[in-house]
């Protein structure tokens, strides 16, 4: 019970900080579930110079009662072709979301790490073996075009929300 409260309290503060900040991250949009502060939705802009560029990817973030001592579980809702993302379930294989998690991190830091992962795939611990094999085999053309195809097919439909709560216009 008390842990659950601690997680909710901390997440409320994270939300507050996100709202308050002068320089919101232009590539990450975070919003908690209306009636459950432990569950968030995130939108990520595919990094430029990657096959994900121009796409908007939706993530589901689920913080357990022992958050932030335990990492949140994050999955891609938008289908994505990437060696470290499970093609069907959207699970993400990222060390900071597992063993290397630090309670000093928050949901935004986790999203930043996922953005970094999109730019810099790690082909040696693949959840999507096809994508991993393409990169390990040195066939970047195959990887780039396949990932691009799935981006165009799946990630081009979500509009980036205008930040509703503040008057800020995103640049």
């Amino acid at each position: 019970m008390s842990l659950n409260l601690a997680a909710a309290k901390r997440l409320r503060k994270e939300l507050q900080n996100l709202k308050r900040t002068k320089e919101p991250d232009p590539d990450i949009y975070l919003i908690p579930d209306g009636n459950n502060i432990l569950q968030w939705t995130a939108l990520l802009r595919g990094p430029s110079d990657t096959p994900y560029s121009g796409g908007v990817f939706q993530l589901a973030i689920d913080c357990g009662a022992d958050y932030p001592l335990a990492p949140p579980s994050i999955t891609f809702v938008t289908r994505v072709f990437h060696p470290n993302v499970h093609f069907r379930t959207g699970d993400v294989c990222l060390d900071i979301l597992k063993k290397e998690w630090s309670p000093a991190w928050g949901v935004q830091a986790a999203c930043r790490a996922i953005l970094a992962l999109l730019s810099d795939p790690d082909a040696d611990s693949p959840l999507n073996c096809d994508a991993g094999n393409m990169i390990r085999g040195g066939d970047m053309l195959a990887y780039n075009t396949t990932a691009r195809m799935f981006t165009v097919e799946n990630a081009m439909f979500l509009a980036w929300p205008s930040t509703a709560t503040t008057t800020d216009k995103e640049g």
Partner: protein
């Protein structure tokens, strides 16, 4: 395979020898293996090696002083805090010698790598971001003075978050909580007993227990009793005792006996390394083998399915009364020595499969056949051993019944039943491992192979006899016969172990 398991960065693991003095256990090693056999009918106690080998069984807590002694010594010699010493020792399998060697080669690198550099050299602790308001990075609440704590690395968190962090480490990480590092991202400072004491005294005891557990597990001279839920520890007096195959420890709390070297069930005559290979192989092949070895067999005559739920390999079909051997499905009549035949079931004869074909597929098939030959027999004895163990549990009630059934008989008059049953368990176990041994025997030394198989055959034959005898209904059981069979089979068991032990000469 097993060599790869050790990838120690600093020294050659294999060559590392423990000196006479230092890392050996410091206790008065009194041999505690006593052989209790007041019963005149008891089979003489079994292990050839493993008796009086100086292995001590003690509760885990008895090792605490030994751990403290090493800690204290390292603390003094290296002039570092005790908490740091415990981390360093843990990273070096609690071997002082190993630690010193690395420490004196490059102490700075070592301290950094093990996450204790700040603890050992607290002069320049990294301070947290000065811009940071006094806000705990975990709960985002303001920290009051006196309600915050940092490790020597300088990262501050509020006491309540420290407590939850420590509690979470114990509950989620279990034994590996001893490796937990500073909550700050990417900080490698290791959390130690000191922090637990300050922030989470309610979890201190658990932490210390895990620390001790780590000590036992990484220590070369100790091994946990593998018995379920048993917390005893077997301690060998010297390093050589841990290397000598066939050193058996007997737990005095849960009565599990196990090999001191590999922790498995005592497995004479096969060696630890062969057993490890065998178990690995069985795991890999298990699906094939299971498919081939369905749990039931058809009667070779009338084809009705038969489930073997008794220990003996002599099967009589309930339906057509055909008698056959469970292992080879051959007629039982061709098995007994008295009918002039021989008990051929233990012998793998490569000639029985076609050998002319040298294609890879044929070779693979021959290899599988060879493996299955040994696996089937290994498996059969393993099952029979389980059955005999189960039977042993029921023996006591059988003994009571037997005693009541005849007038004037004393408890010692029926004790032979228990002895026979214990012997049976032991023989099944040895037989099981003779097949592991045989599988890895040099196939070209025909003489050795034949002799080994002869011993095996004798043991198998008399074990089957005893098994049959001891399963008879009580009123049909002949006490003298069972007692004799028990003695005879014990003799054969010892013969084969001795034969292997003496290097298969003669």
């Amino acid at each position: 395979m097993s060599d790869d398991d050790y990838s120690y960065e600093y020294s050659e693991e294999e060559d590392y020898e423990i000196g006479d003095d230092d890392d050996d256990m410091d206790w008065n090693s009194s041999a505690t293996c006593t052989i209790a056999s007041e019963n005149p009918n008891a089979a003489p106690t079994l292990g050839l090696a493993g008796v009086l080998n100086g292995i001590r069984i003690s509760p885990a807590d008895d090792l605490r002083p030994e751990m403290k002694r090493r800690l204290k010594e390292v603390t003094e010699i290296l002039d570092i805090p005790e908490a740091a010493a415990s981390v360093l020792l843990r990273e070096h399998k609690w071997s002082k010698e190993q630690l010193f060697e690395v420490f004196y080669a490059d102490s700075e690198k070592l301290l950094k790598k093990c996450g204790v550099s700040n603890r050992c050299d607290p002069k320049d602790p990294m301070k947290t971001d000065p811009d940071d308001d006094n806000c705990c990075p975990i709960c985002y609440d303001d920290m009051e003075d006196g309600q915050k704590m940092s490790m020597p690395c300088g990262h501050e968190f509020c006491m309540s978050c420290w407590h939850d962090f420590c509690a979470n480490a114990i509950e989620q990480e279990g034994p590996s909580c001893v490796y937990v590092t500073c909550p700050e991202a990417t900080c490698t400072e290791v959390v130690t007993e000191v922090e637990f004491q300050k922030a989470a005294p309610d979890y201190l005891q658990k932490f210390q227990t895990y620390q001790l557990r780590n000590f036992v597990e990484s220590n070369r001279l100790t091994r946990w009793c593998p018995g379920k839920g048993c917390d005893r520890i077997a301690c060998a007096p010297t390093a050589s005792a841990m290397e000598q195959d066939g050193n058996v420890a007997n737990c005095d709390s849960c009565y599990t006996s196990f090999c001191m070297v590999c922790g498995e069930e005592p497995h004479a005559p096969s060696e630890c390394k062969d057993l490890a290979k065998w178990n690995e192989k069985c795991r890999n092949e298990s699906e094939t083998a299971n498919w081939i070895l369905a749990n039931t067999k058809s009667c070779p005559k009338c084809a009705s399915r038969i489930e073997k739920n008794q220990g003996c390999n002599h099967i009589t079909c309930q339906r057509c009364k055909h008698e056959f051997c469970w292992i080879c499905s051959g007629d039982w009549a061709s098995h007994g020595a008295n009918t002039g035949g021989y008990y051929k079931c233990n012998r793998y004869d490569p000639k029985s499969t076609e050998t002319n074909d040298n294609s890879a597929a044929a070779k693979a098939k021959r290899e599988l056949d060879r493996y299955l030959h040994y696996y089937k027999r290994y498996h059969a004895h393993s099952e029979a051993q389980k059955f005999a163990k189960k039977q042993l549990k029921e023996t006591e009630s059988r003994m009571v019944m037997l005693q009541e059934s005849s007038d004037n008989s004393k408890w010692t008059d029926v004790e032979f039943l228990k002895t026979a049953n214990e012997q049976l368990v032991e023989c099944r176990k040895v037989l099981k491992y003779t097949y592991v041994y045989a599988y890895y025997m040099n196939p070209n030394d025909t003489l050795q192979k034949e002799r080994f198989e002869y011993h095996q055959e004798m043991l198998e034959k008399f074990t089957e006899n005893l098994s049959e005898q001891s399963e008879k209904p009580l009123d049909k059981m002949d006490r003298t016969d069972v007692v004799n069979q028990t003695r005879v089979v014990d003799r054969f068991m010892k013969n084969i172990l001795k034969y292997v032990d003496e290097g298969m000469e003669g």
